[in-house]
């Protein structure tokens, strides 16, 4: 049964990829807001294959909220698939509306990002700017999408109905290393709304996640900042392993070594948008 479902998914995804190629050809030249995550990496590689290297520009917005390891992964994908990359520094950290960390924080971040990316792309002759938003993203709490709309950034993956699983399926087929990469939102998503975003706090969270990764955790992981407490979310299937006393102590020691005084393990495990639930922005 599951095999039949997989074949259906693969065929459907392949058909959508043909539609995506046609969509891209109609644009001629595209600039992509590129994070190196599953979605934008897939979009960049399909665009490169469809339009040729001179007609595709992947633009990375860099700031303290963008994990260094994510940047390195983005560069590796771009290098491996010969995608031209441009890096721009973004300055959302100095926007007090962003730093205050309201529930629509992402709007201010994306406003800053697209406010720099779109003019730069236009100046370089890229008339279409796209992002990696997919169909599963639409309808959730995603205030950043409003900023994309205001800057006329297109979302072909969402427009053509690509689900996350279909993007992973086609990424696997194309040989992208990102096909089974966990989702990797910006570091500010680890801070509860209302807790101000500072480079120091983002660095603390990034260091803690790096320390946990060094223990061998490869799946979903978030270290959520709760003042003096780091709340660690692991994939639910990992919880039994990491509650074993010796493993638990290694986990605690790793996070403490990164600078958190206290460490707590979330008993439900990783859930996307966990802090939205905590604040009643979305339901559990």
């Amino acid at each position: 049964m599951s095999r039949i479902v997989d074949i259906d998914n693969a065929e459907r995804a392949a058909e959508k990829e043909e539609a995506l190629a046609a969509w891209l050809r109609a644009c001629g030249r595209v600039a992509i807001g590129f994070s190196g995550g599953v979605d934008s990496a897939y979009l960049a590689v399909v665009a490169r294959r469809t339009l040729g290297g001179e007609n595709v520009l992947a633009i990375i917005g860099r700031s303290a909220s963008y994990p260094a390891e994510q940047w390195a992964a983005a560069r590796r994908v771009a290098d491996a698939f010969d995608v031209t990359v441009l890096e721009l520094d973004t300055d959302e950290m100095n926007d007090p509306r962003y730093a205050a960390n309201p529930s629509n924080r992402c709007y201010f971040c994306k406003s800053e990002l697209w406010g720099k990316v779109v003019p730069e792309a236009t100046q370089r002759g890229f008339g279409t700017v796209v992002d990696g938003t997919n169909a599963d993203d639409v309808g959730g709490h995603r205030p950043g999408m409003q900023a994309a709309n205001e800057h006329a950034v297109a979302s072909p993956l969402a427009e053509l109905g690509f689900s996350k699983s279909e993007i992973r399926e086609r990424s696997r087929a194309l040989g992208l290393p990102t096909w089974q990469q966990p989702a990797s939102p910006c570091l500010s998503s680890r801070l509860p709304y209302g807790t101000s975003v500072t480079p120091e706090r983002l660095h603390l969270v990034e260091q803690a996640e790096r320390a946990v990764r060094a223990l061998g955790v490869t799946g979903d992981l978030r270290v959520r900042y709760h003042d003096d407490v780091a709340r660690v979310e692991l994939a639910p299937a990992e919880l039994t392993t990491w509650l074993e006393p010796r493993r638990a102590e290694s986990l605690r020691a790793a996070v403490v070594s990164a600078g958190f005084p206290r460490v707590a393990l979330d008993l439900r495990g990783f859930r996307s948008g966990s802090l939205n639930v905590l604040h009643g922005v979305t339901t559990a």
Partner: protein
Amino acid sequence: MSIFTSVGDAESRRRADQLAANLTGMGLPCKVEPRAALAVLLVESGVAARLADGELRRAALALAREQGFTHLAVELAPPGADATLPRP
């Protein structure tokens, strides 16, 4: 300014104490530190390991939800620490 100014809120404290009592009654002796909708369990060494049991974990999560907590986490205390004491 942190959002976690409700730690000492009386209603929050009452719900945390009720959750601690319910969990203790279930065989998980603990104290509960409320932080808005997050409940942090403070347990003696060895008790956290019992939560490796998925059934027990699900039961604990259900009790937390009953008291209005959307998130439940167990503090990983250093070896030898008395986890039921408030942390500095």
